[in-house]
């Protein structure tokens, strides 16, 4: 074996190793899915159990540990962009004061037998869990980027407003497998509630931009 062949062989093995990076669970992925699915009480309401179902985006993201090849990512982004719906009156900017409240609310939507939320409990965007927004709120998370001065930096052109709305409605339209939930797609927030959060982000009077 000459040097060139050795080099070629070595590189081929290295590339193949990368391309074939094993999906989580490896050959036990199917068993794992079944094991997971059979972990729940039979008397769970069927509405609860629907929360375990995966659309193509969820399945693919898991398979690639949230880092899909660009081609596949682009396909998912197109699919997700197609799901975005707008308020009937077409207005994408709501009331920033309502948006401020929704950004802070982290409760709502818990199910189960141990500690479920009472019916009708307000569901918020829980934005502060992952993002810095208004300076005065110091208890913010860092999973997402800081959005402090979002409007001050980017302005409040129609383009920016639409981007903010679309991103909150379906984050995967822009970055497949991002950590950010798809608030509109899952009806976690209504289109109207999303417009309030958009206002909180872009309104010059909002504490996100003022302080």
């Amino acid at each position: 074996m000459n040097f060139k062949f050795g080099l070629f062989f070595g590189l081929t093995v290295a590339f193949a190793g990368q391309a074939l990076a094993e999906a989580p669970g490896g050959k036990f992925a199917k068993d794992a899915e079944q094991t997971f699915r059979s972990s729940f009480r039979a008397d769970n309401p069927s509405y609860w159990m629907t929360r375990l179902e995966q659309d193509e985006t969820m399945k693919t993201c898991g398979q690639y540990r949230d880092n899909p090849p660009r081609k596949i990512g682009e396909k998912l982004e197109k699919q997700n962009a197609a799901t975005i719906r707008y308020p009937v009156d077409g207005k994408l900017i709501g009331d920033w004061k309502e948006g401020e409240k929704l950004a802070a609310v982290g409760t709502g939507g818990h199910i189960g037998f141990i500690q479920p939320d009472p019916a009708g409990k307000l569901r918020g965007g829980n934005c502060y869990a992952c993002h810095e927004l208004a300076k005065k709120e110091v208890a913010y998370g860092t999973i997402g980027p800081s959005l402090n001065h979002f409007g001050k930096i980017r302005g409040n052109s129609e383009e920016i407003i639409k981007y903010a709305y679309d991103k909150i409605y379906n984050s995967n339209a822009f970055t497949a497998c991002t950590n950010m939930p798809r608030f509109g797609l899952h009806n976690w927030l209504t289109p109207e509630q999303i417009t309030h959060i958009v206002a909180f982000l872009v309104d010059p009077e909002s504490p996100v931009n003022k302080d």
Partner: protein, 271 residues
Amino acid sequence: MIRRLMKTLVGAAVLAAFAGGVAAQDSKVADEIAKYREALADGNPADLFEVKGEGLWTEKRGPKNASLEQCDLGQGPGKLEGAYAALPRYFKDTGKVMDVESRLVHCMVTLQGFTQAEVTKQWYSKPGKDSDIEALVTYIGAKSNGMKINVPATHPEEAKMAKMGEYIFYRRSGPQDFSCSICHGQEGKRIRLQELGNLTTKDGAGFAMKTWPSYRVSQGTVWTMQRRLIDCMRQARWPEPNYLADSIIALETFLQKTATGTVMETPGIKR
């Protein structure tokens, strides 16, 4: 022991005082926690659970009027040293990979004659209703304090469980598109003020796993790993897996395997 217990009682009083402030001002939690971690270094309220657990371990109970002293947690009958740190593992007699809790329940059923339903009815405590399991697991856990987590998952069934745990760790679903990995797959992140460990690395998984079971200040009781993981799923807005479900044991195997080599510091104390 009495002196240690006194310290614990004083600690519990200090803790109660702090806990009131915590509810009022969420944002100061991180600072306060750091303070009482220090203040309670040798007065963790979990010590009370440990003492109670020791009593439950040695007391003759159940229809068979037997103690748990012959329970085999993987190191041989009655051998508790290092048992917690080496779980989950495969057990020949049941043909299953079991964690500390499923094995403990198995012993309570086979040695003491309880039914599984009786034993697991109170698998976590509620106000005014203590959980024997919390106390026993704290006691068993403490017997691994200072020892290295050791779950290489070399048995084929253990290896399979670890891989299944990995699958579940990355599995996304629910109205928030969550998986474990969303919060626990990267370095140096926070949710609100709570620091998040990267559970895919030895350091991150080790830091998380070495302190369980842990006294949780905000809950006023000890949480076992089953409780911790089932509650993560509740927070993800999924339905709750059953207590002792294989999916939970799979996640534990994945995490303990990743954490293997880390020295246990249990019982811990957390927010």
